[in-house]
Each structure stands twice: as C-alpha cells, then as structure tokens.
Symmetry: C2
Subunit: 149 residues, 2 copies
DNA sequence: TTTATTAGATGATATATATCATGTTAAATA
DNA sequence: TATTTAACATGATATATATCATCTAATAAA
C-alpha cells in the first residue's frame, strides 16, 4: 500500500504532532525510538517532510521537530502521502496499466474504483489531530514493542 | 497495492481464462504480448500459478496454458493474489507495524479496516469468469497500447 | 566566542523486486 | 524415432527501495 518511507513518515508525524501538543520538540533519535524506525532512514524522511512544509525543525541543542498547533488540524494524511510517495495511490491502475482510466478501463476497474474512492475519502478527511487522540489515552500505538511486560 | 508480478499474474489469468472459454491455449509469448508484460518474467509467474493449481499447462508443439471452464468460475482473485503475493494484503497493518491487530491497533487502524474489508470483499467475491466478460465485448482492456490508431 | 548538540546534505551500501539468459524436459508430429 | 516446439528449472543481472555513514551548518548554552 504505502512505501516503508511513507509508513515511517506518517508514524513520525503523528508522534511529532502529539508531542507538539504537549509543547515538546523531539529529536530524530527520540522519534525513531518511539516510532520503531531506523534512525538514519527516518532522518532522511523527516528532511523531506520539512522541505514540503509538513513539519518544521530547529537545529542546535534543544532543537528538534515540531508542528504548529494550527497545522496539526489542517494537515491531512494525503499531504504526507503525497510528499513521500507522490500521487500514485490516487492515479495508478490496480492492475498496473499506465494509468487508471475511465475510457480504457482494466477488467477490475469498476470494483477497484470503489476501494480507491474509499481510500481517497479517508486520506482526504483524516487530519493529524484526530490521529493523536488515541495515543494520549493509550488506545492506539505507534510501534510493536518486542517486550510487553 | 499488488506487486508487479501479481499484476501481471492477474492480467495473464484473465487472458488465459478468456482464451480457454474460446477453446484456445495461448503460449507464453502470446500471453506476454497480449498482456503487455515482459516475456521471461511472465514465464516465471505462470510457472508459479501452475504450481499453485490456478492454471494448467501442456508442453510441446501446440502446447500452452489454459484453465478448466469449471475453474474459471471458481477461481477468485484472492487465489491468484495469495499464490503470488501471499496473504500480506489481508494481514498487514496500514502503517507497517508487525501485524494489524485489534488489541494493539495503530492510529489509522479503524479507518483502514474499512478499506481493507472492502478490498477483502472484492478479492473474495470476484471470480475469473466475471473478469473475462468485459474483454469479449471490448469494454475492458488488458494493456495500454502505445498506438491507438 | 567557543563548544556541544542536533538537523541538513550527500553519497555509499544493502536488500528486495523485477527482468533477462541458458540449458533441460516433455510432448506432438513428420 | 528424429525433430521441433514450447513449458520448466535455475541462476544471473538490473533496478528500485531501504538502510547506513560521513561530513557540514546552524544554534543554544557554557
Ligand atoms: S483502469 Fe485499472 S483500476 Fe482503473
Ligand atoms: S493495526 Fe495498523 S491497520 Fe490495523
């Protein structure tokens, strides 16, 4: 579905958003740890997100990554996915033809369109703030820890 | 969504099914051409499908690939996807955690579940026969040709 | 204003996926 | 039975994706 980079990117954004709401500014090291992603890879992904104005960063001691509270409400999943994976998930054909097209549809086009519309709907209407809610009260998780004691 | 191998596999199956309904037995060369897939790669994929009893084959002159008419109705998309990509699409977490789980859900789990259920539904209820119908009357296509004259 | 700290930039390496090439085996037919 | 045809098996190569390593630049605090 999403690339690994995109998965890590979304998870990182959710973590950063949640920390930002608590007036904190996590470092790459902390983010990678809490999200369960490889640190150098995560660094690269976060840079891209900064370039795309999804998240912001400050260098130096006590630096780190953050998201403006207003933006936490306006940033939707699509923004993150597009920044990392591009619009392929919106435009690709389910059977890998050049593009998904109504005039030259593949055999599964009609069935697949329904799925894809659902996916679009979800990416378009889910914002970062919603995704942080479950984290606070321990209903949702950002990594599968190896030890559950 | 699906791997390239799986996309080619599905397209090949649809083509073979359609030809089988017309009592024909296409060769790898023909299938690859009609489906727009690289021939040697397609060969490998078809072998896998034979091993998994999705399609059948006959060697030698006038040999080729075919599917029993009864099977054309009973083979569903899931069979093909599982044979090539495995059950990941049913079990993976949308954010790449070890597995999709109700007891340790990721932040997008609830929204994603809806999408995934739709996808499951589609893979479980769509059989090869349905997918051949549009081919016959030119409503659907298996490849994007470069020249549309 | 020096030093420690942390992000940024860039390129190298590894791994997975996709693609290609070669030789082998089964079956039809001349 | 010899010959041709086409699938089968296996391994090599290429490409994309994921991961790591190194150095640079900015900034906060000593
Ligand atoms: S053309 Fe294949 S999904 Fe639309
Ligand atoms: S746990 Fe992530 S989709 Fe179910």
């Amino acid at each position: 579905m999403f690339s690994k980079a995109c998965e890590y990117g979304i998870r990182s954004c959710i973590y950063i958003a949640n920390q930002s709401l608590n007036s904190k500014r996590p470092s790459i090291k902390e983010i990678a740890k809490e999200v369960g992603s490889p640190e150098p890879f995560t660094a690269k992904i976060l840079q891209k997100l900064v370039k795309n104005n999804i998240i912001e960063s400050i260098k130096g001691p006590s630096g780190g990554f953050f998201i403006n509270v207003e933006n936490i409400h306006s940033i939707i999943l699509r923004d993150i996915v597009f920044a990392i994976d591009g619009p392929g998930i919106y435009k690709n054909c389910g059977l890998g033809m050049k593009e998904c097209s109504e005039v030259k549809p593949c055999p599964i086009h009609n069935q697949f369109k329904i799925i894809k519309n659902g996916l679009k709907e979800m990416l378009d209407t889910t914002n970062l703030h919603q995704l942080t809610l479950g984290l606070e009260n321990g209903m949702t998780f950002l990594k599968t820890e190896n030890c559950d004691l």
